[in-house]
């Protein structure tokens, strides 16, 4: 792959993105997706489904509902939390949802600072709004776990 754009252009997928609310931080890479990235992996894709093309930590086939993602990330020590308020002792993630289907995950880096893997494309650091209200939907479910000391 190896390609890296300076910016992600505003488009139907990302109607809110602009130069000021994101930074591209990696080359394009199809080896992993946003869920794997949020789980801390970059060598395989994570997705809940009845087909065997992606890894999922729970053996049974799962729909792509928030409940399936909550159960999967509970296996990594995460628990559902109320919001995105920043606590340096906690690692938080957020799932973006469209009509009850999870489309994306991001991991919190700081106050209103998040990191994401965009499908088959680059990793970015961004404000939460940057990738909202397009094909990823809106930030809906937050989870947190205590950071390793």
């Amino acid at each position: 792959m190896g390609r890296r754009r300076k910016q992600i252009k505003k488009c139907a997928d990302f109607p809110k993105i602009n130069k000021k609310n994101h930074t591209v931080t990696s080359d394009q890479d199809r080896a992993y997706n946003c869920i794997a990235f949020a789980a801390g992996e970059t060598h395989r894709k994570w997705w809940p489904a009845s087909h065997p093309d992606a890894y999922w930590p729970i053996a049974l086939p799962q729909p792509d509902t928030p409940d399936a993602f909550i159960k999967a990330f509970q296996t990594l020590g995460y628990a559902v939390c109320a919001d995105d308020s920043y606590d340096p002792a906690l690692q938080k993630i957020v799932f973006y949802v469209v009509f009850g289907h999870v489309k994306h995950a991001a991991i919190q880096l700081g106050p209103n600072k998040w990191a994401s893997k965009l499908g088959d494309c680059e990793d970015i650091q961004h404000k939460k709004i940057a990738i909202s209200e397009g094909s990823y939907g809106v930030p809906t479910v937050y989870m947190a776990r205590r950071k390793a000391s």
Binding site: M1, D13, F14, R30, A31, N33, C34, I35, A36, H43, R44, K45, W46, W47, A49, H51, P52, D53, A54, Y55, W56, D64, H101, V102, K103, H104, A105, K117, L118, G119, D120, C121, S135, Y136
Partner: protein, 144 residues
């Protein structure tokens, strides 16, 4: 496949004709569908599309329109992905040659077309390993 669309309201409405655009280059009267078909055929290279060309046409559109998707289910539901599965056996070679160029999410299509699955459960999600297993499968059967 005919790549054409109708555009309503031409400038001169008195003619009551609609303009047909073929790939944005050719325009003919809607009253001449046979001519349109012939011109569309020439626009595609003057004859039958090869399986590789047909696959690449679907692949380009699919990659362009799904590049931000993480959901494999959404990627597999894209119309161009369905078109590739619809090519049947003649898609196997083009898909495997595409995998030789770069790993991508062609495993679902390959399973459906070939009714085979050389990928082991513990390799699920690992694009590099899954690609290697399919390329080995294809080489053993003379597809590549």
């Amino acid at each position: 496949m005919l790549n054409a669309r109708y555009v309503e309201s031409p400038p001169d409405e008195s003619t009551r004709n609609r303009i047909v655009q073929v790939r944005g280059h050719r325009a003919v009267s809607r009253t001449a569908p046979l001519l349109l078909t012939i011109r569309a055929s020439f626009a595609d290279g003057g004859g039958e599309e090869t399986p590789d060309a047909e696959f690449r046409r679907y692949e380009r559109k699919w990659k362009r329109e799904t590049c931000y998707m993480s959901s494999l289910s959404d990627k597999y539901l894209h119309p161009s992905y369905a078109d590739i599965i619809g090519m049947g056996q003649k898609a196997i070679g083009p898909i495997l040659r595409s995998l030789q160029r770069e790993p991508n999410d062609w495993f679902y299509a390959l399973r459906h077309i070939t009714k085979a699955n050389p990928v082991l459960p513990q390799d699920a999600g690992d694009m590099r390993v899954m690609t290697q297993r399919w390329l080995k499968w294809g080489a053993q059967r003379g597809y590549i």
